[in-house]
């Protein structure tokens, strides 16, 4: 197998919620907890999970907006978390982020041409006289006219703004782009356009994507492999076809059953999860999904309430963290 482009190894990000009088931490939110993941060059890795499961935190850890509590982010043979800020900046240039909200992610007082030119200028990616051409080229690459460069963000629609955000990320000539729910703020018809654009760009610019989404439907279109997250943990990772045809984790099954099916003949029973998402603050030992798991009673003698099951490979490339599928 090829070398992964980037490896997350036992990555954790904990937020302190409360301290006692002596400043000792008494309550911790485990947004990402001991997560390991490889992303290979050229692939699109879909990361799904419901709100609050930590998927955005993973994205922000990758682009250095958060510092990991523990674990490593290995890129180009070095652990980004251990680098000094100056060096880290050089590596982080290769990892860019596309934001969820196209209305908040563009500076309202900057013409879009400047928004795209600034990263090029500041990082000296192009000689000064070529910046203008580059901006025009990038605008065209994301399907906007180069004549729009002097317009302000508020003069664009949501889909067009998202294209500007994509152009800004491309300006950095990245290897990996973290797409943080890039289409969930857009109209359904525009979603498809932006997804197709991302698809085309990955070929044109040789990009690798970490595509974060809250549902499996969007991810199904664009991903090569899919990881399912639940409360800071990866519960299942598999190639797309495998995951959609043979989901193993009870949570993945529930997510898949929630995708609307257009053909009434194909509709199946929806798996409804009982109860609320368990709080990621001071999680109890045991499987994170145990309190909502409908399959728990099938697993006689399992340690569901004692220890989180490890992520194990059950078939080539298909990993699942569930005692029902011990693997090997």
């Amino acid at each position: 197998m090829t070398e992964p482009l980037i490896s997350l190894r036992h990555l954790s990000k904990h937020f302190t919620m409360d301290r006692d009088l002596l400043g000792r931490t008494t309550s911790v939110l485990k947004a990402v907890d001991d997560l390991s993941l490889d992303i290979f060059p050229g692939e699109t890795f879909g990361l799904v999970g419901e709100s609050g499961c930590g998927k955005t935190t993973v994205g922000k850890l990758l682009v250095d907006l958060y510092t990991p509590t523990a674990g490593e982010i290995v890129y180009g043979g070095v652990d980004l978390a251990k680098l000094r800020p100056q060096e880290r900046r050089r590596y982080c240039r290769d990892i860019q982020l596309i934001f969820q909200d196209p209305y908040a992610s563009l500076n309202p007082r900057m013409p879009v041409g400047d928004i795209i030119a600034e990263p090029i200028r500041v990082n000296r990616l192009q000689p000064a006289e070529k910046i203008d051409d580059r901006v025009g080229y990038l605008l065209n690459a994301v399907g906007l006219s180069a004549n729009y460069r002097n317009r302000f963000p508020h003069e664009f629609s949501g889909g067009q703004r998202q294209r500007v955000g994509i152009a800004r990320a491309l300006a950095m000539e990245p290897k990996l782009i973290v797409c943080d729910e890039p289409v969930s703020a857009l109209d359904v018809s525009i979603q498809a356009q932006v997804l197709n654009l991302l698809d085309d760009l990955s070929e044109e610019f040789g990009l690798t994507y970490l595509f974060i989404a809250h549902g499996l439907n969007v991810v199904k279109h664009i991903s090569d492999r899919v990881g399912v997250m639940y409360l800071g943990k990866l519960v299942e990772v598999a190639p797309k076809r495998e995951l959609y045809s043979n989901p193993l984790h009870p949570y993945t099954k529930a997510l898949l059953s929630a995708i609307p099916v257009t053909n009434p003949a194909l509709r199946t029973e929806r798996i409804l999860l009982e109860g609320d998402v368990t709080s990621p603050i001071d999680p109890k030992p045991g499987c994170r999904f145990a309190s909502r798991c409908y399959a728990k009673s099938d697993c006689v003698g399992c340690d569901c309430d004692v220890e989180m099951p490890p992520l194990r490979e059950v078939s080539p490339g298909h990993l699942v963290a569930c005692y029902l599928h011990p693997g090997d």
Partner: protein
């Protein structure tokens, strides 16, 4: 478990029409446009916008009548402040007791005061003091306030706590009282009045700037600026402050008017400009005993203060709109 990869009826035309693609896309439940991504051709009706931001701003300001009138008025005030001493019909500090408290007439347009000095000449001569004090005091307060507020808001943590508690301490004392205390320590005189007024209004600016920066800092475009590797200084000056600019400018223009009022108040209390040098507030203060016998002695300096303050406020409003690309009058 094969339900999930079975294709469904789907009459929507799709990109990459092989059934495999269709299979993958159907699950999205959304229609994909056929053909390539729509290319946004150059729309002839949407011409390029002029490059010059200042030109755009000027156009918008010109369209706002109140702001334009205020701008003209303030320009006139500046001209008067510069050439004022040379165009007064009488010497503004020459007393003529036999001619005291005369109502407005052809010789004395605004009448004369209790010492027989020509009020019109004094109002004109006082413009220079009021404007200078207003601008200087605001410059002191604004620069210090922006720097302190920006550091506090952007850095956060203990830096924020130290700076803002200091500001709170200053705000706890009424500003005019603090200014009087400072004047008592520094001594009388207009230069000291400028410093006192400037210093006591720092907390207002620091608070406004900090508050704005706290809210702006949470925006995704600031995170985006971090991701593309911009330095903190560049983020503050290119992304945070421009977005706080409208509030700062409006506050500054309002600040000029309140500094003018404060100077007037200090003058009224006899702490600012020393007689016989003309100053609007001082004129009000000294004439207040004659309000019933000779109301014109208060009316004209009072009107000068009011008109100047109003003009700065209206200009501030206009500037706020002109500086905001979204609110620009087209």
């Amino acid at each position: 478990m094969s339900e999930w990869n079975q294709s469904s009826v789907d009459e929507v035309p799709m990109r990459g029409s092989e059934s495999q693609k269709a299979d993958e896309t159907f699950a999205m439940g959304i229609a994909l446009p056929d053909g390539e991504i729509p290319v946004y051709e150059h729309d002839e009706t949407l011409h390029d916008k002029p490059e010059n931001q200042w030109l755009e701003m000027w156009r918008s300001l010109r369209a706002n009548r109140a702001a334009l009138v205020s701008l003209v008025f303030i320009t006139a005030l500046v001209v008067i402040a510069v050439i004022g001493p040379y165009i007064t019909p009488y010497n503004p500090i020459e007393t003529e007791m036999s001619n005291a408290l005369k109502p407005p007439s052809a010789e004395h347009w605004f009448g004369t005061d209790q010492l027989g000095m020509d009020i019109f000449s004094r109002v004109i001569a006082g413009t220079r003091v009021s404007l200078t004090v207003g601008l200087l005091a605001v410059s002191i307060a604004l620069t210090t306030g922006i720097i302190l507020g920006a550091i506090a808001g952007y850095a956060g943590g203990w830096v924020d706590t130290v700076i803002m508690r200091l500001m709170d301490m200053m705000l706890a004392v009424p500003s005019i009282l603090l200014a009087i205390t400072l004047m008592a320590a520094l001594g009388k005189g207009i230069d000291k009045a400028v410093i006192a007024i400037g210093l006591v209004s720092i907390p207002e600016y620091a608070r406004i700037v900090r508050g704005n920066i706290l809210s702006i800092k949470e925006n995704d475009y600031i995170a985006a600026a971090h991701v593309v590797g911009l330095s903190d200084a560049r983020i503050i000056f290119r992304h945070v402050l421009p977005n706080a600019l409208s509030v700062i400018i409006v506050r500054a223009t309002l600040g000029i008017s309140s500094a003018i009022l404060d100077t007037a108040a200090l003058g009224f209390l006899g702490l600012g400009v020393q007689p016989p040098q003309p100053e609007w507030g001082d004129m009000l203060g000294r004439a207040r005993g004659f309000i019933f016998q000779a109301p014109h002695t208060l009316l004209y300096p009072g009107m000068a203060i009011t008109a100047t303050v109003l003009a700065f406020n209206l200009l501030g409003d206009g500037l706020r709109d002109a500086l905001d690309p979204r609110a620009r009058i087209k």
